[in-house]
């Protein structure tokens, strides 16, 4: 059996499940954020920063960030393995995706916890 070394969970079934669990987390976060923005027409800095100062909101945001990392990796891995037949090109593209995702994660943590 040939096992892939670049997919997230080393197993298609595991990736399949991670993709769906992370999708639910991201969908809940998206719906929540859209709800906040739509139902707070005159959003002030005070209200907005107070929301993100709450621990549950930081945890929710961090969960979304972790879910985004897994979700984007699996999705971009699937796309790059489907369309990039040249191993070197694919490796470079996947490395770029991984690097960008890592930067996003660190950046997001920095915004949420303000290092």
């Amino acid at each position: 059996m040939v096992t892939s070394v670049t997919n997230l969970g080393r197993s298609g079934a595991y990736d399949w499940m991670v993709q769906r669990v992370s999708a639910v987390v991201l969908a809940l976060y998206t719906a929540f954020m859209v709800g906040v923005l739509v139902f707070t027409p005159d959003l002030t800095y005070e209200v907005w920063s107070a929301l993100f100062a709450k621990t549950w909101m930081r945890i929710f945001s961090l969960a979304a960030l972790v879910a985004l990392g897994a979700h984007a990796w699996i999705g971009l891995w699937t796309i790059t393995t489907d369309y990039m037949k040249n191993g070197v090109v694919r490796f470079v593209a996947q490395a770029a995706c991984g690097t960008i995702m890592f930067v996003y994660f660190i950046w997001g943590v920095q915004i949420l916890w303000g290092l």
Partner: protein, 132 residues
Amino acid sequence: MAIIECEAVNSKRPVNLDLTKFHFPLPAITSILHRISGVIIFIAIAFLLWGLDASLASKESFASLQSVMDSFLAKLILWGILAALFYHFVAGIKHLIMDAGFGETLKGGQIAAKVVIAVSVVLILLAGVWIW
């Protein structure tokens, strides 16, 4: 025998694989749009994190973000991001529903693809109304 079969297969068929001459069924189009919108969202995260950073860093940066968002170009970019996000959201929900065992037929797939297009068009138009 092999030659006859080969000629029969090849008769009146295009020898090129010109993608513009293919007719894609709607579920194929919604599937590729799901992938394209996913890539757009991945790139858009940079803009969204930048906006989140500006909105939370200070009262001044919050105000400057608000003035940036008054420009037509910024609104257009935001609409594009929300369009990709809402489409990906709706197409993803369709996946979860089908994973749960609903509509796993050819007919079901075709109806689901139409619903995905219809619902996301409505959401994208509403997003445009909300932005402007």
